[in-house]
C-alpha cells in the first residue's frame, strides 16, 4: 500500500466518523439507541458505496466489503439452517429428550424412526473429510441425486414436454379449433382487419414455424445442410430475436434496482429527499 492509498483511507475514515456523528445527532430525538443506529446506517451506506466503487476499479474498500459479505453470509446461512432445519424440523422427530433440551414440541409418531436415516446419511456425508472413509459420502449423494432425478424425470416430461407439445395444437385454418368446413367457407370467413382471422392465423403460423425451426436447430445427430440447414438457420434467427427482446426487456428491472439503492443513499442516509 503506497502513501496515496493511506491518505484515501484516512479521508474515508474521517468521513465515516463525521457521518456517524451527524446521523446520531439527527436520530437522537426519536430513538434511544441513536449511537448504534447512527453507526449502522452509516455502515450500510459505506458498504453500498464500497460496492459501487468497484465500478471504477478494484480497491481496498470493495475488497473489505466483499470479504465481510462472504463471511457474514456463510455464517448466516449455516446458523439459519441449523435452527430451522435441524432444530425446527429434525429434533422434534428424533426423541423427546432432545426436543426438551432444544425446547421444541416433540412430535411423536410411529414413523419417526425414519428420521434417523438422514442423520446417519448426513454424518456419512461429513466422512468425506477423512481420506479413508471418504467414499462413504457417496451414499447420501446417491439419495439426493436419485430422488431428484426421478422427480425431474416425470415432472419435466409432463410440464415442459407434453403440455408444451399439446399447446402447439393451434388452429392454422380457422379462428377456432375443430371448425374446418372446407375451402369455400374458409375463404368467405376470412377478414383482413388487424385483429381479424387472417392476423390470428398468421400469428399461429409464425409461432408454429418458429417452434419447428427452433427444434430443428437443436438437432444434434444430423448435419445442418440443405433444407435442414436453412430451417436451423431460421431457428437461430428466431432465438436471437428472442434474446435481443428479453435483454431489452430486462433493462427495466435492473434500473429499478439501481433506483432502490440511490433512494437509500439519498433518503435514508443523506436525507436529501423525503
Amino acid at each position: 500500500m503506497n502513501r496515496s492509498t493511506y491518505i484515501v483511507v484516512g479521508v474515508v475514515v474521517v468521513l465515516f466518523l463525521l457521518s456517524w456523528i451527524l446521523k446520531a445527532v439527527s436520530l437522537s430525538g426519536e430513538d434511544h439507541r441513536y449511537i448504534l443506529h447512527g453507526f449502522l446506517i452509516t455502515m450500510s451506506a459505506f458498504l453500498t458505496l464500497a460496492i459501487f466503487s468497484f465500478l471504477y476499479r478494484d480497491n481496498p474498500f470493495y475488497k473489505f466489503a466483499e470479504h465481510l459479505f462472504v463471511g457474514v453470509s456463510a455464517a448466516f446461512w449455516m446458523t439459519q439452517g441449523f435452527w430451522s432445519t435441524i432444530v425446527g424440523n429434525l429434533i422434534p422427530r428424533l426423541s423427546a429428550g432432545f426436543s426438551e433440551f432444544f425446547m421444541v414440541p416433540h412430535q411423536p409418531s410411529p414413523w419417526n424412526i425414519a428420521y434417523w436415516i438422514p442423520v446417519i446419511l448426513g454424518i456419512l456425508l461429513l466422512m468425506r473429510l477423512s481420506a479413508k472413509y471418504g467414499w462413504l459420502s457417496r451414499w447420501p449423494l446417491a439419495l439426493i441425486v436419485g430422488t431428484t432425478a426421478g422427480l425431474n424425470f416425470v415432472r419435466y416430461l409432463r410440464s415442459d414436454f407434453i403440455v408444451q407439445v399439446s399447446s402447439t395444437f393451434v388452429p392454422l385454418l380457422g379462428r377456432e379449433p375443430h371448425q374446418w368446413q372446407g375451402g369455400g367457407a374458409f375463404i368467405s370467413h376470412l377478414d383482413l382487419s388487424a385483429t381479424g382471422q387472417l392476423a390470428a392465423l398468421l400469428t399461429n403460423w409464425i409461432i408454429f414455424l418458429g417452434v419447428f425451426c427452433g427444434i430443428v436447430y437443436f438437432f444434434f445427430s444430423k448435419e445442418h445442410t440443405g433444407v435442414f440447414g436453412r430451417a436451423s438457420r431460421v431457428g437461430i434467427w428466431v432465438l436471437m430475436i428472442t434474446f435481443g427482446a428479453s435483454f431489452g426487456y430486462t433493462v427495466m428491472g435492473r434500473i429499478s434496482l439501481l433506483v432502490g439503492r440511490v433512494t437509500f443513499l439519498f433518503r435514508d442516509w443523506l436525507e436529501l429527499i423525503s
Binding site: E66, F69, V70, W77, A149, V165, H178, I215, G244
Partner: protein, 465 residues
C-alpha cells in the same frame, strides 16, 4: 403433575360432551310434518362412490335434482348433505381437542416436564384405539349414531365431493374403509321445510395405486425410456453416431491451451444449481474433461462453489480427473472450494478472483440466475476468454452478449455427451433427437387434428392431475 394433566383432560371430556349435545340439537334430522305445508319432492337416484385418482378420504356424491328445483312456490333453495356419523367419532373429536389443549398447555408450561408428553402419548393411544373401531361403528348402522350435515350445495347442483384431510388428528378427518351412509335433503327457503332422500350407501373411500389421469405421462415415460435404452444398446454395439460440432465446446480446448501459454489459471464456475440439478450434473461431466486437460497441461484450475454438496462432488470429479491424467500429485483439495451459499456474496467473491488472479479463461456451466451478467461483464473487464452454457432461458441473452461462446439450453447437455465421446452418452443424445422428431410429428398430427375436428387426438395429451 401427571395427574394434573389428566384432570384437565377429564374436565375437557365432560365439557365437550355438552357441546356435542348442542350439536345434535342443530343437526338431527328435523322433519316438521305439518299438513298445511307443501314439501318439495325429494332428490332421486342418490349415488356415491369413492373419488378417483386420490389418496382416499374422499367420496363423490351425485343425484338427480328434485323436480321442484327452481320451480315456483315449493322452490328448492339448496341441498343439505347428511352423513350418518357414529357417536364413537364424537369421542374421537373430544380426544383430539384434548390433544390440542395438552399441546398448548405444554407450550405455556414454564417447566416442560415429560409428563405432558406422557399425557399426549396416552391421548394419542386412546385416539388410535378409537380410530381402529371406526369401521365396526359404521357397520353398526343405524345403532348409536346420528345424521349430521356435512355440507350443502345451492339449488341446481346435483353433485358434491365430501372429502377430508388424511391427518387423523384433524377434526374433519374422513376415515377410509368405513361404510358411510349419505342422505340429501331438498331444502326450501324455510329451513324447516325439507324433504329427505333415500339413504345411499354403504359407500367406502380408499386410496388408489394408479392415477389414471396421468396415462399420457406414463406412455411418455415408457416410450422415452425404451428409446433411450434401445439407442444406448445400439451405441454399445458400436453403431457410429454423428454429433454436429458445438462451437462452444470446440473452443474449450483452445481456451485451455491459451491459458497454458499465458501461464494464467482457468476459472470454472458451476453456477448456483444443487448437485441434483440437471444442468449441474452436465457441468460436472464437462468439468471432469476440463480438469483432465488442465492436469495434462499443468495449468492452474480455480473452482469456487456455491453449494457444499456441489463442492464435494466437484472435488471427487477433479480428483479422479487428475488420477486419469496420471498426475494425482498435482491435485490440491483447495482447487475446488466453498465460498458461501448466498448468491451475491458468491458473485462478489468470484469477481474478486477474476480481477486479482486474472484467469485467462472463464468457463460458466450450469444453473445461473441474475448473477450471470455480473460475472460475465467482470470477466470481460479482466480480459478473459469466456465460455458459458446454461439452461436458464432468462440468462441466455446476457451470456450471449458478454461471452465469446455460449451453449444454448440443450447444447449444454449435449456437450457432456459430445465431450465424453462415450457411445452410451451419444446414444442417449440420439434418443433425444428421435424424441424431438416425435414432438414435431405429434405437433403436426395435433395440428391436423385440431384443425379438422378430431378432438379425441388432442385429448390424448390431456393430463389430469
Amino acid at each position: 403433575m401427571k395427574n394434573k394433566c389428566l384432570m384437565a383432560v377429564v374436565l375437557l371430556l365432560v365439557g365437550f360432551s355438552g357441546v356435542a349435545a348442542e350439536e345434535e340439537a342443530l343437526a338431527g334430522d328435523t322433519l316438521v310434518t305439518d299438513p298445511m305445508l307443501l314439501f318439495p319432492a325429494p332428490v332421486t337416484n342418490l349415488e356415491g362412490r369413492d373419488s378417483d385418482n386420490d389418496h382416499g378420504h374422499s367420496v363423490d356424491l351425485s343425484w338427480e335434482l328434485s323436480p321442484d328445483d327452481g320451480a315456483g312456490q315449493r322452490s328448492v333453495m339448496k341441498y343439505d348433505i347428511f352423513r350418518w356419523i357414529p357417536t364413537l367419532m364424537d369421542s374421537a373429536d373430544v380426544i383430539r381437542s384434548a390433544i390440542g389443549v395438552a399441546l398448548t398447555a405444554r407450550e405455556v408450561d414454564e417447566v416442560p416436564g415429560a409428563d405432558w408428553n406422557d399425557t399426549l402419548r396416552f391421548l394419542r393411544d386412546v385416539l388410535d384405539t378409537l380410530i381402529v373401531q371406526f369401521p365396526a361403528a359404521h357397520a353398526a348402522y343405524p345403532n348409536d349414531g346420528e345424521w349430521r350435515r356435512v355440507g350443502m350445495v345451492p339449488s341446481g347442483e346435483g353433485c358434491f365431493e365430501h372429502s377430508g384431510p388424511k391427518d387423523r388428528l384433524s377434526s374433519d378427518f374422513l376415515p377410509d374403509y368405513c361404510d358411510f351412509r349419505f342422505r340429501v335433503d331438498a331444502v326450501t327457503s324455510d329451513e324447516s321445510i325439507r324433504t329427505s332422500s333415500d339413504v345411499a350407501g354403504p359407500i367406502q373411500c380408499y386410496g388408489q395405486w394408479f392415477n389414471s389421469g396421468r396415462k399420457p405421462v406414463l406412455v411418455g415415460v415408457l416410450v422415452f425410456g425404451f428409446l433411450t435404452i434401445l439407442m444406448v444398446s445400439r451405441a454399445r454395439k458400436g453403431a457410429d453416431l454423428y454429433v454436429r460440432p458445438i462451437s462452444g465446446i470446440e473452443a474449450v480446448d483452445d481456451a485451455i491451451g491459451r491459458a497454458t501459454e499465458m501461464g494464467r489459471p482457468i476459472l470454472y464456475v458451476l453456477g448456483l444449481g444443487t448437485a441434483a440439478d440437471v444442468a449441474t450434473i452436465a457441468s460436472f461431466t464437462i468439468l471432469g474433461r476440463v480438469a483432465k486437460r488442465v492436469a495434462e497441461y499443468q495449468t492452474d484450475l480455480i473452482v469456487p462453489t456455491y453449494d457444499p454438496i456441489v463442492m464435494s462432488v466437484a472435488q471427487e470429479v477433479v480428483k479422479s480427473s487428475y488420477l486419469d491424467a496420471g498426475r494425482p500429485e498435482g491435485y490440491n483439495e483447495d482447487t475446488v472450494h466453498f465460498v458461501t451459499q448466498s448468491q451475491f456474496a458468491y458473485v462478489a467473491a468470484v469477481n474478486g478472483i477474476m480481477l486479482r488472479q486474472r484467469p485467462a479463461t472463464n468457463i460458466y456451466m450450469g444453473m445461473f440466475h441474475a448473477e450471470s451478467l455480473l460475472l460475465a461483464e467482470t470477466g470481460v473487464e479482466a480480459g478473459s476468454i469466456q465460455i458459458a452454457g446454461t439452461d436458464q432461458i432468462a440468462q441466455l441473452p446476457f451470456f450471449i452478449v458478454a461471452c465469446d461462446y455460449t451453449l444454448i439450453g440443450e447444447e449444454l447437455y449435449a456437450a457432456s455427451a459430445y465431450l465424453g465421446r462415450e457411445p452410451v452418452l451419444l446414444g442417449s443424445l440420439k434418443a433425444q433427437d428421435y424424441a424431438k422428431a416425435a414432438v414435431v410429428m405429434l405437433a403436426l398430427l395435433g395440428l391436423a387434428a385440431s384443425n379438422f375436428a378430431l378432438p379425441w387426438f388432442v385429448n390424448l395429451f390431456h393430463v389430469i392431475d
